[in-house]
C-alpha cells in the first residue's frame, strides 16, 4: 500500500469511502508518523489511544451508513481549543493541568463530522508570537530545513509543522494578526482565516476577541475548504457568530476566475522585502492574468498604520481577557503573603515574557487618561482601514499580496527589538482589523529552497471568491515540493 500519510485529506476521505483502507489503518499510519516526528515538537499533548478508539468507532459508523464530512480523518487541534477531558494549555504554564469539562464549538462541529483527533498542537503562548518561540513547551521546528533548525512561523506553528510533515491530514488553527497564514507561508501549506464571525469563538482560549478567528491549515486549497466547511457555522453561544448558511466551498475551488478583478495594492511593496518575494508576487499576478482574471492596481493608503493599530487593540483586549488568570478558579497558583501578592506571583510565574509585555502595554493604553489617545484612536484608524478596503472593492473582487515579508528564519535568532518581530504580520494583519477573509497558498521556493506563500484577500462573507482565486493560484503555481524527511 502507498504511504497513507502522503495523501491529501480529500484523497483520504475518498479512499475510505471507496473501501481502499479504513480509518483505523489511516490513523495508525499517522500515529506512527507522529511518533517518528517527535523532534519537531509539534504536539503538546498526544491522544493516540483515543484516536485509535475514535478511528474504530468511525469505521463502525461508516459500516452503518453514517458518514460525516471529516469521517475517520486523523487531524490535529491547536492547543488553544478546549477539548473535553484533554488537557488544554494555550502553551502557557499558567493553565497548569487545566482539563476542560466542555468542548469548543469548532472542535465539537468537527467531532460531530467524524474527526479523529491525534492530539493538541503547540503554539506561541496564548497565540502571541510569530515564530512559535514563546511557547512554554519549547519551540516547534519547521520540517523545512537549511543547515540549521528553522521556525515554522506562529502562532499556529505546531499546526503548520504537523501538516507540512504529513503527520496530520489537516489541523485547526487560529489567526489574530496572521497566525494561520504566516505559518502556512513558512511551511508550504495552505491556511485560511475566514470572515470574522464565520467560526464560533466559544471554547477557544481568547487572545484579542475582536480579531481572533479560527480556520484550518491544510495540504491543499480544497482540503482547507473541506475543513472550514466543518469548522464554520452559527453558534448562539458566541454573540459575534454570523447567522448565515455555510456554502459548500469545495465547489468554489472549481469556479473559474475568468473576468474576476484582482486588486494589487501598491502599499504592499515595502522597503527591505527580499526581491524574491516581489518576483513571486509578480509571477502570481501573471498566473492570475493567464487564468483569465483582470489585474487592477489599487491603493490601500492606511496599510502602514495597520500594525501599530493592531499593537494597541490586541494588547488592550488581551490585558482584559487574560485578567481571568488569577490562580483562583483554575490553573496554577503561587501562594503569596496576601491575596494581591498571590495574584501577582501567580501571574508573574505563569505568563512568559512576551505575554507579560503585551498585558502591560494593554493595561497602559487602557489606563485612565490614555484611553482616548491610544485605544480610541486605534479603533478610528481601524475604521479608516475598513474604508480603504471598501474603496478598493469598487474596482476589484479580491486582492493578491505576498503573505509574509520573509522566508522562515532560524530558531533562536535573538530578536531584541519586539517591533522587528511584529513586522512578520505586516501583510496579514490588515484583514484581521477589517474582519475580512484571507488565505495563504504556497507559491514557490526561495533561493535556499524554502517555501513562500501568496495571499488572497476577499470581501467579508465572500470566501467563495477567495477559494476560487486561491485554487487558480495553486493550479498555476504547481507547488509540489515537500520537505526532505530529516526527522526520522
Amino acid at each position: 500500500m502507498t504511504d497513507l500519510t502522503n495523501l491529501t485529506l480529500s484523497a483520504a476521505l475518498d479512499g475510505m469511502a471507496a473501501g481502499d483502507f479504513s480509518s483505523e489503518e489511516l490513523t495508525k499510519a499517522h500515529i506512527d508518523a507522529c511518533m517518528d516526528a517527535a523532534d519537531l515538537n509539534a504536539f503538546i499533548t498526544t491522544t493516540f489511544e483515543h484516536a485509535m478508539d475514535g478511528a474504530k468507532a468511525s469505521d463502525a459508523r461508516r459500516k452503518s451508513g453514517t458518514v460525516g464530512k471529516l469521517e475517520g480523518a486523523p487531524l490535529g487541534v491547536k492547543d488553544l481549543f478546549c477539548t473535553e477531558g484533554v488537557k488544554t494549555t494555550a502553551a502557557s504554564k499558567i493553565l497548569g493541568e487545566f482539563t476542560p469539562t466542555y468542548e469548543s464549538s469548532v472542535t465539537a462541529n468537527m467531532k460531530a463530522d467524524g474527526m479523529v483527533m491525534l492530539g493538541k498542537l503547540n503554539l506561541d503562548e496564548f497565540a502571541m508570537g510569530s515564530a512559535n518561540e514563546t511557547s512554554a513547551f519549547g519551540p516547534v521546528i519547521n520540517p523545512w530545513r537549511k543547515d540549521e533548525d528553522l521556525v515554522p512561523g506562529g502562532s499556529s506553528g505546531g499546526s503548520a509543522a504537523a501538516v507540512a510533515a504529513g503527520i496530520c491530514l489537516g489541523a485547526t488553527a487560529t489567526d489574530t494578526g496572521g497566525s494561520i497564514r504566516q505559518p502556512a507561508s513558512f511551511t508550504g501549506t495552505v491556511g485560511i482565516k475566514p470572515t470574522y464571525g464565520r467560526c464560533s469563538r466559544w471554547g477557544t482560549v481568547a487572545f484579542a476577541s475582536s480579531l481572533d478567528q479560527a480556520g484550518p491549515i491544510a495540504k491543499t486549497v480544497k482540503d482547507s475548504a473541506i475543513l472550514l466547511g466543518s469548522m464554520a457555522g452559527y453558534d448562539p453561544k458566541d454573540s459575534t457568530s454570523i447567522d448565515a448558511p455555510v456554502p459548500d466551498w469545495t465547489k468554489s475551488c472549481e469556479r473559474s476566475v475568468k473576468g474576476l478583478r484582482i486588486g494589487i495594492p501598491k502599499e504592499y511593496s515595502i522597503d527591505g522585502m527580499p526581491p524574491e518575494i516581489q518576483t513571486l508576487w509578480d509571477e502570481g499576478i501573471a498566473w492570475m492574468k493567464d487564468a483569465g482574471a483582470e489585474i487592477v492596481p489599487i491603493t490601500l493608503p492606511h496599510t502602514k498604520y495597520a500594525l501599530p493599530a493592531y499593537y494597541i487593540v490586541a494588547p488592550a483586549e488581551a490585558s482584559s481577557n487574560l485578567a481571568r488568570y488569577d490562580g483562583m478558579r483554575y490553573g496554577t497558583r503561587v501562594d503569596g503573603a496576601d491575596l494581591n501578592d498571590t495574584y501577582e506571583k501567580t501571574r508573574a510565574a505563569g505568563f512568559g515574557a512576551e505575554v507579560q509585555r503585551r498585558i502591560m502595554i494593554g493595561t497602559y493604553v487602557l489606563s485612565a487618561g490614555y484611553y482616548d489617545a491610544y485605544y480610541l484612536q486605534a479603533q478610528k484608524v481601524r475604521t479608516r482601514i475598513v474604508q480603504d478596503f471598501e474603496n478598493a472593492w469598487e474596482s476589484c473582487d479580491a486582492i493578491l499580496t505576498p503573505t509574509a515579508p520573509s522566508a522562515p528564519f532560524a530558531v533562536g535568532r535573538k530578536v531584541t527589538d519586539p517591533v522587528q518581530m511584529y513586522l512578520n504580520d505586516i501583510f496579514t494583519v490588515t484583514t484581521n482589523l477589517a474582519g475580512l477573509p484571507g488565505i495563504s497558498v504556497p507559491a514557490g521556493l526561495d533561493k535556499d529552497g524554502l517555501p513562500l506563500g501568496l495571499q488572497i484577500i476577499g470581501k467579508a462573507m465572500d470566501e467563495d471568491t477567495v477559494f476560487a482565486a486561491a485554487s487558480a493560484l495553486e493550479k498555476a503555481a504547481g507547488f509540489t515540493a515537500r520537505p526532505e524527511k530529516w526527522w526520522t
Partner: protein
C-alpha cells in the same frame, strides 16, 4: 502623546496588571515599552476627523436571547480545575482583614 514611560510608571502598570516585577527589571521594561509606544506614536498622524471608532468587524445587530436559564447545575465541573476547593467551594486567600 510623546511622553515616555519611567521605571516608576512601569511599577504602577505592573501593579494594575497584577504582575510581580522585580526592581531591577523596571528600567529594562520601561525601555522596551518606550520602544513599542514610540513606534505606535505614528498613529497620531492619521486624520480621524469625523471617523467613528470601529465596533464590529461585520455589521450586524447585537443578537437577543430569551431571558431564560439555559445551562447550570455543574458545580463539580466548575470546581474540577480549582487549585484548591473544599465542600463545594473555591478556597482562596483571605481578602478582608
Amino acid at each position: 502623546m510623546s511622553e515616555t514611560v519611567s521605571a516608576k510608571d512601569v511599577k504602577k502598570i505592573a501593579r494594575l496588571s497584577r504582575l510581580h516585577v522585580e526592581e531591577e527589571r523596571l528600567q529594562p521594561l520601561a525601555d522596551e515599552l518606550n520602544g513599542i509606544l514610540g513606534w505606535i506614536e505614528q498613529l497620531q498622524e492619521v486624520d480621524v476627523e469625523g471617523v467613528a471608532p470601529m465596533t464590529s468587524a461585520v455589521a450586524m445587530p447585537a443578537p437577543m436571547r430569551a431571558d431564560k436559564v439555559s445551562d447550570g447545575g455543574k458545580r463539580d465541573d466548575v470546581l474540577k480545575n480549582a487549585p484548591k476547593s473544599e465542600d463545594g467551594f473555591f478556597v482562596v486567600p483571605r481578602s478582608v482583614e
